[in-house]
Amino acid sequence: MGDHAAIEVEELGKTYRDGLLRRRAFAALRGVTFQVQRGEIFGLLGPNGAGKTTLVKLLLGIVRTTQGSARMLGRPAGDRAARRRVGYLPENLRIPRHHTALTALDLFGQMSGLTRGEIRERSGPLLASVDLADRAHDSVRKYSKGMLQRLGLAIALLHQPELIFLDEPTDGLDPPGRAHVRQTLVQLKQEGKTIFLNSHLLQEVELVCDRVAILDHGVLKGLGTVEQLVPYRGEGFELQVQVAGPEPAVRAALAGRPAPRIEPLSSEQAMVHLPVRDQADVDQCIDVLRQQGLSIVALGRRRISLEEAFLHVLGLPAPGTDHA
């Protein structure tokens, strides 16, 4: 173990090629750069098809990079020695049907380099920790999706990895199950593990992640804490002002404000959506608009949901808004 970051990604790109002569190209990742520090829980957010799973597969060496570089635990991505220190819970995990929880742990444990003695020793407590102790000898054919997901988590943790990739770990879990996973993640963090969490569930990310990267269409749209990426989230709301005046004038008036969204209603009117923190902030916004000689036609306010904040970062329109 050295001083380097758990994950270092620089200008990382991946283009899939398809077709008979491999002439059809699809860029799944484009110039992604970030680092994940040791001991942090890092969340990778993004809509379906954003390139999250591709990024994890690149780091694990399941697919090859076509551009840039990626390092994991100080070694090139995909390096076998680094993979020995990594646990992985893939999305939509399927355990071959002939297994029980114990035999699955035995197979994947040995594939991770554990002895059968070590596997026997660790299996009991681990299955107990994912609430599968009493179903250890049952065929996985009889498992629910949530149980399979918990078994997958146990497999990922069996060889006590330093870095754990969890791809949609709460998929298919009921609320208590999700809470259990969150507790496990917090506990792992306390043990000094680095966790890379792939999810499109914002709440989950928000609850456990120290830092988040937002990926969309293979491009990194943001990197930082949830607060940094989603301004005013938690304490703020959205101010909706219908303004009489030309759009360029409105845009010029709000140039200093963070993330305004201006919707032209006609050549003479526009609807302005402004994230605001408090009443003083509201007053300041109104003052700025008035100082520019713009008339206020209507005024309203609405709390911002986390989803809206996320879509806002992605530059996507929010679902229907309220007008006061």
Binding site: V86, L93, I95, P96, R97, H99
Partner: protein, 763 residues
């Protein structure tokens, strides 16, 4: 290695959890249970079958003739009078039946057999005075010593059969004293098989068992295995489990190979169960404990692995079990087409045309091909032209020769007068040089002739079961043909052959071989473990020495005489030399383990022997009194493809290779003197330059049954089972390791491609 072992162990686990495995094991159990009650038992040969009789009407005539003699007390009288009146009347009318009425002839033969069988239970058949002139064998004498009244029904039937058979042996086909019955749950399911238990066991071991295993495991088993294992590799590429597998610190290639090994493991369980089960059943039921059978397990596993490597590559690329099965079946068909094409071309167009014997005549070499057709080298056209052709008969009916008899200035051969089953009567075929070797019928050969030799003064000698007969009469003497059934049996009007000794007739039974020293005319004869030297003195032969040879009596053999050295080559591959006339053993070697000698000849100057083996290799052996051996591969071209060899009068050696090419080598120096090398026919060109190369590089998993036959037999050449147990008859050459090599290389290529694909592919 631990991760990969874990994958293999997981395959075991998967197999055990799979219903398919248990279904397969159940099916195998049912097959084994179905075979288990099969067995055979030996019992005394008592009942006379119609097919035991070589000439039923002849037997009736003989019985009637003996019965009509005024003297009393002949077996014929006793037997004929013991038959019931109805049978006597019916059989007495036999003369009225036309030869051409096959059904009636057959019915009468069956009637005769039935009538004779009616005598088997009679305690009053034996009459000491009637059989007083008959030399009964030890078995009959022992039974008689017990007293007819004291014999069990079975013993009595056996005694009566011997009493009927012994005086009329020529009308009975020789039968072993015991016959075999195939049984199922102890009940007879086959007609009696007239063969020794040992022979039946050997047939089962060497023919039936490989065939059964080949079909059961090699065809049905492999097909089932491919269907069952086809999903294993595609399942590995299931996206839900593949990412987890690939995230583990293991090599993708090794992981794939471990999965492949896992599939093989699945099949291994089944093959072990089936083959071991067969081995135990065959051992317990038939007394055949051939541990070599167990070697079939790795061979079948390998056979499966070859097909599975194709299935695995298809599975890696298309990740679909159906596509895997289809691709494997396509591969299977391709292999079969290539193998069958070679085999068909070989059998129809190549092997039958292959020259195997050469006969020197004063103005040309005559060559005999595998089908028995004769050819003469035509210098003008540089080709072998048909010669000594038969009018209407197939060459195959020519059974001995041809030999060139200088005294008659003709090629002489023997033709089977009837079917082989109808005794050993043969007649001569003559092709005189003045008639451009055109074939003509000649006189009948002495009974029991088994070889034709050219004598020291250019006369023809016929070696018979009793000794040597010499052709002295006029070959142009007319012959009479007697109709027996629907065959013409030639009968000499004159007596062109005279018995040349020995005075005390030999008792030679097949398989037998003879050879002559061209210079002195001394003849060596080998038969059933006995070697006899017949010294020629004043145109008569006398036994100079007889020695036993350590060999199975039913082994075929070849003989050649070079001066005072005699070469004996045996069916077990041994080559022995003896010093004549004392017949002291001088050396014993096995120059080509796993193969048998096919032809042996001696140089006219007595300096050396040449031995051609069934595997196409030619060995030379010095024959002088001081020569020590062992035989050495001759430094000639075409080793491995040599079909025959013959010494010329000038001691040069002619060697046949590449189907029809004959090359002459100088004695001693092995310098190539000349060559009779006809241009290859288009089919031969296609065979040598297209079919054989394609076949060589193509995998031959379908021919691993050759390997199995070799493993079970330990021999590289197989008697084709055409009823001709002569060493000179063509035998199938097993190439046990060629399919293993080609299939192994192919499998490696398939696995390497799969590994490369798995290694480089994004998943």
């Amino acid at each position: 290695m631990r991760p990969y072992l874990a994958i293999i162990v997981d395959s075991f686990r998967e197999a055990l959890a799979s219903r398919v495995l248990w279904i397969l094991l159940l099916l195998i159990t049912l097959i084994l249970a179905g075979i288990l009650p099969l067995g055979f038992r030996a019992e005394r040969t008592t009942a006379i079958l119609a097919r035991d009789l070589t000439d039923g009407r002849g037997l009736v005539r003989a019985l009637q003739r003996d019965a009509d003699r005024p003297s009393t007390g002949s077996p014929g009288q006793r037997i004929w009078s013991a038959l019931d009146e109805k049978a006597r009347t019916a059989l007495g009318d036999w003369e009225q039946v036309a030869e051409s009425d096959r059904d009636a002839m057959r019915a009468r033969t069956a009637q005769l057999a039935e009538a004779l069988n009616g005598l088997l239970e009679r305690r009053d058949l034996y009459d000491a005075s009637a059989w007083s002139q008959v030399l009964l064998g030890s078995e009959a004498r022992e039974l008689l010593d017990q007293g007819v009244d004291a014999l069990s029904a079975d013993d009595l039937a056996r005694l009566n059969r011997l009493l009927i058979e012994t005086p009329y042996l020529e009308y009975f086909r020789p039968q072993p004293p015991r016959q075999i019955l195939i049984t199922y749950f102890g009940a007879k399911i086959s007609p009696p098989i007239r063969a020794t238990e040992k022979r039946v066991r050997r047939v089962i071991e060497l023919l039936v068992l490989p065939a059964v295993i080949g079909i059961l495991v090699g065809f049905i088993g492999v097909l089932a295995a491919i269907l069952v294992t086809a999903p294993i590799i595609p399942q590995m590429f299931d996206p839900g489990s593949l990412s987890l597998l690939l995230s583990k610190p293991v090599s993708r290639s090794w992981m794939f190979l471990a999965k492949f090994a896992g599939g093989c493991t699945f099949i291994l369980i089944n093959v072990i169960y089936l083959v071991t089960g067969l081995w135990v059943i065959v051992g317990l039921r038939l007394g055949i404990w051939n541990a070599r059978l167990l070697l079939c397990i790795p061979i079948f596993l390998f056979l499966f692995a070859v097909y599975y490597s194709v299935s695995a590559l298809a599975g890696v690329i298309w990740r679909n079990a159906v596509v895997s099965v289809v691709m494997t079946v396509v591969f299977w068909l391709a292999c079969t087409v290539v193998g069958a094409t070679k085999s068909i071309v070989e059998q129809l167009a190549v092997e039958s045309r292959r020259l195997v014997r050469l006969v020197e005549t004063p103005d040309a070499w005559i060559a005999v091909d595998e089908s028995g057709a004769t050819h003469r080298w035509d210098t003008a056209s540089s080709a072998w032209q048909g010669a000594f052709l038969e009018g209407g008969d197939t060459p195959a009916s020519r059974v001995l020769g041809p030999v060139f008899a200088p005294r008659q200035d003709a090629l002489l051969a023997a033709r089977e007068a009837g079917r082989r089953n109808f005794g050993s009567r043969k007649s001569l075929l003559i092709g005189r040089r003045v008639d451009e070797w055109t074939e003509a019928d000649g006189p009948a050969l002495p009974d029991g002739t088994f070889d034709l030799l050219a004598g020291p003064q250019g006369q023809l000698l016929a070696v018979t079961a009793r000794g040597v007969d010499e052709l002295v009469g006029d070959l142009a003497a007319p012959t009479k043909k007697m109709q027996v059934f629907f065959f013409e049996i030639p009968q000499s009007l004159g007596k062109p052959f005279r018995a040349a000794g020995p005075d005390t007739p030999l008792q030679i039974r097949p398989p037998a071989a003879a050879a002559i020293d061209r210079a002195t005319g001394h003849v060596a004869v080998y038969s059933r473990g006995e070697l006899t030297w017949l010294q020629r003195t004043a145109e008569r032969y006398e036994v100079a020495k007889t020695v036993p040879v350590d060999a199975e009596p039913d082994q075929g053999a070849l003989l050649a005489v070079a001066g005072a050295t005699l070469l004996l080559a045996l069916d077990d591959g041994r080559v022995l030399t003896f010093a004549a006339p004392a017949l002291e053993l001088r050396g014993s070697w096995q120059p080509e383990p796993g193969s048998q000698p096919r032809f042996a000849c001696a140089a006219p100057d007595g300096a050396s022997f040449a031995i051609v083996f069934h595997n196409g290799r030619l060995h030379r052996l010095d024959a002088g009194p001081d020569a020590a051996g062992p035989p050495q591969p001759a430094p000639v071209r075409g080793q491995g493809d040599i079909a025959g060899a013959a010494f010329a009068a000038d001691n040069s050696l002619l060697v046949i290779d590449r189907i029809t090419r004959v090359t002459r080598y100088a004695a001693g120096t092995w310098q190539r003197l000349d060559s009779f090398s006809p241009a290859l026919t288009p089919l031969e060109i296609a065979y040598y330059y297209a079919i054989v190369p394609l076949y060589t590089v193509f995998p031959q998993p379908g021919e691993l049954d050759n390997t199995i036959q070799y493993v079970l037999r330990g021999e590289q050449t197989v008697d084709l089972g055409m009823g001709d147990d002569s060493l000179q008859a063509r035998r199938m050459r097993l190439r046990p390791w060629a399919p293993v090599r080609s299939s192994f290389v192919f499998m490696l290529v398939m696995l390497a491609l799969s590994c490369l694909y798995v290694q480089r592919q994004d998943f």
